[in-house]
């Protein structure tokens, strides 16, 4: 057995130089796998901790809800914002409800919120997780290290809102391809999809397409970060070569993917139309949606890339025409921020403390007189006038009721027209019956019947109504002392409310 050269702990290095890479290469791989393993721990932890919740929650599969939540957040991430917290909870509910259909909805919502909050880890100040693992250093000393990671993070959005984003760790855990290159993994996923479709194995193809979409989102996220960074760094960025090259590369990539995904789309459409099996047809249709979404995301990425150029030029102009000053001062970033960030926090803290002590200005200390204090404490609190000035009471004038027909008349007319769906009636018969009830009623019935000649089908469809009054002219003239025209056939049509509802949800 070999013994390590020295087991004494090395004194902590206080020099400014970054610490040398620790651990031999073999241990590095182990550390990476340990970290990957740690990313799944919060999910297992959910199922372990559900027993501690007040109430009977063992019926819920928390890890499943959590993975589903990460899926939802990842798919709802766009360039500017992330996913909305409430929206994710709402979309989680069907799955939670399916796990325990007999439980109340409030409990389902509580479970969904609990899972989401635990994935953010609301309880800790960092809102993240920490795992401890050990490695052997180059000198053979065993060191325990903290690995900090997040699964879902909260990011600021426009208008002060808070949005959710999945971190790279979470996407890697989700996709299961740990520590792989984004671009190559995407290409691999797409090639796999093409092969699967050509062999007609659509079930696997859907899985591959969904993975391709996660990769697409991840790639977009990487580029978004890069773009955001370059927008701030315009002065020091190599605008002659590096940036245009980067943008060209990204545009080429988008064009390439776009061509590729359109080809796939054509193939799947063909597969969808030619498929005999209903199940195959449905799966192919789902695939079409997924690939369409991929294309949409690529288009979005492309428009961002095109906007980058003018932005660079505007910044370039702004600085090129600024008059140079004769003397220079302290470079706050280059000489202070950049050097202290890599320092150990013990040392960096001294510098930031010094800056804080001298950079905050002054505060005039408040001195309290007992007399003032008594007055202050005895003064009743001032009403906050956040409601604004009092609104004057509006002076309302009662408008005369000039309706031609009363509510009762309308009710009796509707009663008359409430026909069985298989027994339509002639307008003449309806008018005669109405005349027996009320002298004015025939006018209302005739009016409603004429309206029914052009029934509001669109409205009924949108509102999901089950019955619709209609009137048809079959050429018979109306023989009536008060009215002329056609003797309409008035009837009630039954509408397929369930089918319409399904149609509506598909089309949206």
């Amino acid at each position: 057995m070999t013994s390590p050269a020295s087991t004494d702990l090395a004194p902590p290095q206080l020099s400014a130089a970054p610490r040398p890479a620790q651990g031999p290469a073999a241990d590095e791989g182990l550390a990476r796998r340990l970290r990957a393993l740690a990313c799944t721990a919060p999910l297992h932890d959910l199922d372990a901790r559900k027993a501690n919740l007040a109430g009977e929650y063992t019926v819920y599969a928390m890890a499943e809800v959590a993975l589903s939540a990460i899926d939802l957040v990842t798919l709802n991430m766009d360039f500017d914002t992330g996913a909305d917290h409430e929206q994710i909870v709402a979309r989680l509910l069907p799955r939670v409800a399916a796990q325990a259909p007999s439980r109340p909805t409030a409990e389902h919502e509580r479970v969904a919120r609990w899972v989401l909050e635990n994935l953010i880890n609301v309880g800790s100040v960092d809102r993240g997780f920490r795992a401890v693992y050990g490695t052997f250093g180059t000198d053979g000393v065993y060191v325990r290290r903290d690995y900090d990671f997040k699964l879902i993070e909260e990011v600021p959005g426009y208008g002060g809102g808070v949005y959710l984003r999945t971190t790279d760790e979470a996407v890697n855990v989700l996709v299961g391809a740990l520590d792989t290159d984004v671009t190559s993994a995407q290409i691999a996923a797409e090639v796999k999809l093409e092969v699967l479709i050509s062999r007609g194995r659509l079930a696997d193809a859907q899985l591959a397409a969904e993975q391709a979409r996660y990769r697409t989102v991840q790639y977009a996220e990487t580029l978004r970060k890069t773009l955001e960074a370059t927008r701030r760094n315009v002065r020091a960025v190599d605008w002659l070569q590096a940036v245009p090259d980067m943008i060209d590369e990204a545009l080429d990539h988008v064009a390439d993917r776009y061509r590729h995904e359109n080809a796939i789309l054509t193939n799947i459409r063909k597969a969808r139309d030619e498929a005999e099996d209903q199940e195959h047809k449905r799966r192919a249709a789902e695939l079409v949606d997924i690939v369409k979404d991929c294309i949409r995301r690529h288009t979005q990425l492309q428009s961002r890339l095109l906007e980058a150029g003018p932005l660079f030029r505007a910044e370039q102009d702004r600085q090129a025409f600024a008059a140079p000053t004769a003397y220079t001062g302290l470079d706050l970033y280059g000489q202070l921020v950049a050097p202290i960030l890599p320092l150990p926090v013990e040392q960096a803290g001294k510098v930031t403390d010094a800056f804080f002590a001298h950079g905050t200005g002054l505060r005039t200390p408040a001195s309290v007189r007992l007399g003032d204090l008594v007055d202050l404490l005895l003064t009743p609190p001032v009403e906050r006038e956040h409601l604004g000035a009092e609104m004057p009471e509006p002076d309302l004038i009662a408008t005369p009721d000039d309706s031609r027909f009363s509510e009762e008349q309308l009710a009796s007319a509707m009663r008359l027209l409430d026909l069985e769906h298989d027994a339509p009636r002639r307008l003449s018969g309806l008018l005669a019956e109405a005349r027996l009830l009320d002298g004015d009623l025939p006018y209302l019935v005739a009016l409603l019947a004429v309206h029914a000649a052009s029934p509001p089908v669109g409205t009924a469809y949108r509102q999901g109504e089950e019955r619709l009054l209609f009137a048809v002219d079959d050429g018979t003239p109306l023989d009536d002392p008060e009215f002329g025209g056609a003797d309409l056939i008035v009837g009630t049509a039954l509408l397929d409310a369930v089918g319409m509802a399904a149609d509506r949800s598909e089309s949206t």
Partner: protein, 303 residues
């Protein structure tokens, strides 16, 4: 202190032609009376109200004029300030009587009063200090900006946060490239690199009352910006980007003459000597390692 004062007093007299009016200056040049002391103290008291603009107050303007024209009165006002534990940065129409708290002065701001969480927890203390430094770096991104008296910096809270996060991201990427394991040892949290502490802290967080989460980085930067606004160093201009601000002349003086040099001295004490020829962050870096430092030199983002 007196050197600074002399330098700026000269600069000031160039900016504005001598005032035609002759106030009580000739009388006080011979002997100092209690009334002069009261006036000098009055001027210092104006200086203690950092948000008060000289142009808005006739008495303040008059006392500033007297400070400039009457050397005896000027020395008296300086003495009053010094006696109170104040440092005079500049006396001019644009900045007014710009005074700041000396070390151990009753006017000094202490970290413990500033943020209750900060004193026991060194991570939070560091983050609060870093936030102030980052706000200054974002407000004056180039060395010339800090030197140019006419420069007005602009910043947003989210912009400052993104700027520091980006710098942290670069360091993380560099560490990854070099195969470094940056996870700190469990029993020595003080050895964790500063960027990791910032990167680890969440940028924002949902709270019950829709306010900013105080412990998040935007919460910490937002607190710094709000505090500097109360100090008369920043002026709030809008709500976009988590709150947008512009700098005042006082802030430039404070950072240039006090905070920057104090922090630099501390950094040199630690054996870190950041060398800059003042133009390094302006030109495209030739290649290699310089890119990392220069590329992050930040710029207020005007979108």
């Amino acid at each position: 202190m007196s050197e600074i004062h002399a330098e700026y007093a000269d600069g000031w007299s160039e900016q504005e032609p001598p005032h035609p009016q002759q106030g009580p200056a000739p009388a006080s040049s011979s002997a100092v009376t209690p009334a002069d002391a009261a006036d000098a103290a009055r001027l210092v008291s104006f200086g203690l109200q950092p948000k008060l603009l000289p142009a808005r107050d006739a008495e303040y303007t008059e006392l500033l004029r007297r400070y400039r024209e009457d050397p005896v009165f000027a020395r008296l006002a300086d003495a009053v300030a010094t006696g109170l534990g104040l440092v005079v940065l500049e006396v001019s129409p644009r900045a007014g009587m710009a005074v700041t708290a000396g070390e151990d002065s009753v006017f000094a701001v202490r970290m413990g009063d500033y943020a209750r969480r900060a004193s026991p927890d060194s991570a939070d203390r560091f983050l609060h200090g870093l936030a102030h430094l980052a706000v200054a770096a974002m407000a004056f991104p180039r060395p010339e900006d800090l030197a140019d008296d006419a420069y007005i910096g602009r910043l947003t809270v989210n912009g400052v946060d993104a700027f520091v996060r980006q710098a942290c991201l670069r360091l993380e990427q560099r560490a990854d490239e070099q195969g470094e394991n940056t996870d700190p040892a469990s029993d020595a949290p003080g050895l964790e690199a500063g960027w990791r502490i910032y990167a680890r802290r969440s940028a924002t967080g949902a709270t019950k009352d829709a306010r900013r989460l105080a412990g998040s980085t935007t919460g910490i930067v937002g607190k710094a910006a709000a505090f500097l606004t109360d100090s008369g160093f920043l002026q709030r201009t809008g709500d976009e980007g988590g709150g947008s601000y512009r700098t005042t002349a006082r802030y430039q003086l404070q950072v240039r003459d006090m905070a920057g040099s104090a922090a630099m001295a501390e950094l040199l004490e630690l054996g870190v000597v950041p060398v800059s020829d003042g133009t390094a962050t302006l030109v495209p870096p030739p290649e290699g390692d310089d890119l990392e430092l220069a590329a992050d030199a930040g710029l207020p983002f005007h979108a």
